[in-house]
């Protein structure tokens, strides 16, 4: 197993306090979060330390309920941590909010039901007080394949279409911090693949410190500079795995052995060391392999 901090091309660290130069993008130090749940309380995050370089792309992997969305919401300034510090691009969550530099896509699309798709996508611009360029909006709608639905209300779209609209909305402000919570979860594979490529293109053209929560291991490898794997609740960063693959990454890359090695490594971390890495060394979302561990 590689030790992430010793790599020369390191872009991330699980000890940002000791490596401030690796925490110029996202910088989470000693983050914990406890929710109260009626009489009881739930510790969602147990001491999260994480740093990434500015304009790097990090993905968060981890079992359901481990606190991925919570980390993302804390970074977005939507939740205050119980303890710990958060800095992004050298700014606090509130500062970066106020600078209108966040793009965010929630796990559920969170579109405003009374606005048309077009107007939903334009919302961040309105909030930022930027005059919306109609061309930009229609390009974004095109990008996510919703042409013809500009005037539709969210209730009139399918689940996947809503999620795509929310991705378009995320890109509207051309953010310096992008937070994506399972943005492609509800998409079919073809659309998902296309969105992945588009996301990479956009991110390369206009770099932004990006954090993506996902369940797709190969998606994470394909897009990220670094992948952080979390352990189950109370969540903490289990390992930080830098993805040292050349950019721009093309679909072909996904057949390269290095790519598969990363996928396998991550599956192993996620599903345990004795987890069956695919013997053929082939692409795997961990889905099939992990099943071996289960007793019916």
């Amino acid at each position: 197993m590689t030790s992430e901090t010793t790599l020369t091309s390191a872009v991330a660290t699980s000890d940002p306090a000791a490596n401030p130069d690796l925490a110029t993008g996202i910088n989470l130090q000693g983050l914990t979060k406890t929710f109260s749940l009626g009489r009881k309380s739930v510790q969602a995050l147990a001491e999260v330390n994480l740093g990434t370089k500015r304009d790097s792309f990090i993905s968060l992997l981890g079992p359901s309920g481990c606190g991925k969305s919570t980390i993302l919401r804390i970074i977005a300034g939507l939740e205050t941590p119980s303890t710990g510090e958060v800095l992004v691009n050298g700014m606090s969550a509130k500062e970066i909010q106020r600078a209108h530099e966040i793009g965010i896509a929630f796990q559920d699309s969170a579109l405003l039901p009374w606005r048309t798709i077009e107007h939903n996508i334009r919302l961040p611009l309105e909030v930022a007080g930027i005059k919306a360029d109609p061309k930009l909006i229609s390009d974004l709608i095109d990008l996510v394949g919703l042409s013809g639905f500009e005037k539709a209300k969210p209730a009139q779209l399918s689940g996947g279409m809503r999620q795509r609209a929310s991705i378009a909305r995320c890109l509207a402000v051309q953010p310096t911090l992008m937070l994506l919570d399972e943005p492609f979860g509800a998409l079919d594979d073809m659309t998902r693949q296309r969105m992945n490529l588009e996301l990479q293109r956009i991110w390369t053209e206009r770099p932004a410190t990006t954090l993506m929560v996902t369940h797709g291991i190969s998606e994470a490898v394909f897009l990220s500079d670094v992948v952080a794997v979390m352990s189950p609740r109370p969540g903490k960063i289990d390992q930080v795995v830098p993805i040292d693959l050349p950019r721009p990454r093309t679909p072909d890359l996904q057949r390269a052995p290095e790519f598969h090695a990363y996928v396998d490594q991550l599956s192993e971390i996620l599903f345990g060391s004795h987890g069956g890495v695919d013997p053929h060394g082939e692409v795997s979302d961990g889905e099939v392999d992990a099943a071996e561990e289960q007793s019916a």
């Binding site: 919401r73 977005a76 300034g77 965010i104 929630f106 969170a110 009374w114 919302l123 909030v127 930022a128």
Partner: protein, 282 residues
């Protein structure tokens, strides 16, 4: 649809009849209701009272109304009272909304503001009516306007505060994540999510405002024209037919206001589940 064809006959038929009732256009059911009510009124009038008794016959009342429609005096009175009601309504709504917005922007003021609004709704009008009359110039409709306004404030405040809370946390999160503050949350989400509840409050307010304006005329000094004045006169004259015609006039005006605000609501807040969309839901 053939789906129901396979179901047992009786059940289907009953459901179909419910359906057909449910699919009646509103104005048809409105008409049916009106006819039913008038029939009941007629029966009560015919059996227990004479055509000019305390509950007069609908025919007489309708005749009276029709003769009223040709009379300038009638329309002058309606316009005078309606005008005062409208001014009071607008003021009351404005003040109510302002109060709710204050609560929204400064949540700690909620208690104080709602208490002030409660006071508006529970001050005995009969006690303060004369005082207001004394504080406004003779001949002005100040008391009518005041009572109309004060009748609206409380419901507007409660409705608007309720409405401002209707936005879900996710919807608000979207705005804050994009750097919007409380104000943007207000303009982009809260106000809009609040519309259904606010409109409901405004709908309640309209009849209340008219009632307030009519009641105000019972206190006014130096005012000769108005629905309230005519009611007072009809009462002193024991003119039950006129009384009922005026009462129906009051109802019709309030109903019109209610309808117009309802339509307005459907226009500006078509997504609101309180309206057409929800027909399939409940």
């Amino acid at each position: 649809m053939t789906v129901s064809a396979t179901s047992p006959g009786g059940l289907t038929e009953r459901r179909l009849s419910w359906r057909s009732l449910g699919s009646l256009p509103p104005w048809v059911s409105g008409l049916i209701g009106t006819v039913l009510i008038i029939a009941a009124w007629w029966l009560v009038s015919a059996i227990f009272f004479g055509p000019e008794g305390a509950v007069p016959s609908p025919i007489n009342v309708v005749q009276e109304l029709f003769s009223d429609f040709g009379s300038q005096i009638y329309w002058k009175a309606v316009a005078a009272t309606g005008g005062a009601a409208l001014i009071g309504y607008l003021w009351g709504t404005l003040i109510g909304l302002l109060m709710a917005v204050i609560v929204l922007l400064l949540p700690w003021t909620e208690g104080v503001v709602t208490q002030l609004a409660v006071v508006c709704s529970c001050i005995p009008l009969t006690a303060i009516g004369p005082i207001v009359t004394l504080m406004t110039p003779a001949g002005s409709r100040g008391t009518s306007i005041f009572l109309a306004g004060i009748s609206v404030i409380f419901t507007t405040v409660v409705g608007a505060i309720l409405g401002f809370r209707a936005a879900s946390q996710t919807q608000l999160d979207v705005i804050s994540a994009y750097g919007g503050g409380r104000f943007k949350q207000l303009t982009k989400v809260r106000l809009i999510a609040a519309l259904p509840a606010i409109l409901a409050a405004l709908k309640i307010g309209a009849p209340a405002a008219f009632l307030g304006a009519v009641l105000g005329e019972y206190f006014l000094s130096g005012v000769d024209s108005g629905v309230g004045i005519q009611l007072l006169a009809a009462q002193a004259d024991n003119a039950s037919v006129r009384l009922w015609a005026l009462a129906i006039t009051c109802g019709a005006i309030a109903g019109l206001a209610y309808l117009v605000i309802g339509l307005l609501g459907r226009l500006v807040a078509p997504w609101a589940s309180g309206d057409a969309d929800a027909q399939g839901v409940l």
